[in-house]
């Protein structure tokens, strides 16, 4: 049952990924990305990681998709706008494709993948995560939040210049 569900979700996810890359209408692209993010959340739920699944929905599928939608709607030229692709293939495209593919092949074939999975017996996943973030890794967490704040303030300053 779990396997069948996983394959269904995986197929949906791959089709949506393909749509993200090929669709010309920007809003359709964003929605395809939304489907990818939601299926990622579904996979988290299947792995008993409910907290991560909900975070995925709340932040990626909810907040970020909305933000991208707003940006697309407020910047592009009307609802009929379509992205135009430059059909000519340049040498740099071959190069970047080969480099990325080779790196991936190298990494995938060299990593010692753990065989089989074990279910972690955690009393409360939320509590464990909280202890890790707010006690063990407090400093990196705070540095990351300051980084985000700096980015936020920077964006406001840049936008206010005009």
């Amino acid at each position: 049952m779990q396997n069948i569900l996983f394959y269904i979700i995986a197929v949906i996810m791959l089709v949506a990924c393909w749509r993200v890359a090929t669709t010309k209408n920007l809003i359709h692209t964003v929605l395809a990305a939304f489907i990818v993010l939601m299926s990622t959340a579904a996979i988290f739920f299947m792995l008993n990681a409910e907290f991560l699944g909900v975070v995925q929905i709340l932040i990626y599928a909810g907040a970020i998709t909305i933000m991208v939608l707003f940006v697309v709607m407020l910047t592009t030229a009307g609802p009929r706008y379509e992205v135009t692709h430059d059909k000519k293939i340049k040498p740099s495209m071959y190069l970047s494709t080969i480099v990325v593919f080779a790196t991936l092949v190298f990494l995938v074939s060299n990593i010692q993948w753990p065989m089989g999975t074990t279910v972690l017996q955690l009393e409360d996943v939320t509590e464990t995560l909280a202890t890790k973030i707010f006690l063990e890794y407090l400093l990196p967490f705070e540095i990351a939040s300051i980084l985000l704040l700096v980015a936020l303030v920077g964006a406001v300053v840049l936008a206010r210049k005009e």
Binding site: I27, L31, E50, F51, L58, I66
Partner: protein
Amino acid sequence: MNDVIFMVLRGLIALAIGLVNVIIYLYVERKVFADIHVRLGPMRVGKHGILQPIADALKLLLKEDIIPSKADRMLFVLAPVIVFAPSIMIYMVIPLTDNVVANDLNIGIFYIFGVLTIVPIGVLIAGWASYSKYSLLGGLRAAAQQISYEIPLLLSVLGVIMITGSMDLRTIVGQQSGSLVSIGNIGIIPNWFIFLQPLGFIIYFITLLADQFRVPFDIPEAESELVQGYQTEYSSMKFGFLQLAEYSNVLVLSAVGVLLFFGGWNGPVLPPIVWFFIKVWIGILVVTWIRMTLPRVRVDQLMTFGWKLLLPLTLANIALTGFLQLYFA
């Protein structure tokens, strides 16, 4: 295989209970409106118009389904689904009593607010796909409003989660049994979190109204300026779904409010499930009453109110709760 069938069955029962309540809500709202206006309201279909919501649904189903020729067909059809799906997803985790729940999730409350963030996407898509000025403006306003008010909505609940130390709705309700103040054996004030988190509850209630576009925050569908907002171009059952989603979400948020602040199914004499529904329906009646009483606020007032007043207040509430917990613990 058996447990899969059982799981699906439980989901369907939860869905049925939710939808039946939504249908009753449609009827009750019309009757309460009529009462406040000193008129009779629907009286013709069935005794006292009790079959009116079913007649309405049939009418919507039988009407011609018009898709505007310039609309983006795929997204136009998809948008009502995206708007309606979250409320179905939420029915699955709301416990009606201690042992009646379709899927007992130990982060229930977090899940509910996570899923609710999908709604503005559907609203925005609905407004955009219609290819109409009113729809687009309504959709943008609606999405902006929901995003701004979801933050205080989520943060207002945090006080309760801090007190209980759990995001499991059953644990939260379990901690509200008994009484806060009692004389002898008779409890006078129940141990509900509204007495420990009054500010949290007030903010929760205001943001509930704003998040689901109830009056006085129904700016996205301000009839006098935007016709019907993002729903303008919709007809037939697609319009029905958009409307149902709003009613359904008010129901869901009322239920969550009862579970968090009013002791859920705790109560004397009557069985727990009856207490739960009594409290949920009192919440819905208050929302309906407010809808008939207050005028609408302006769009700039709405944003100022949300970001400059409610957000700092919720943060202050969280800080205060944490401080008191440290002091008394």
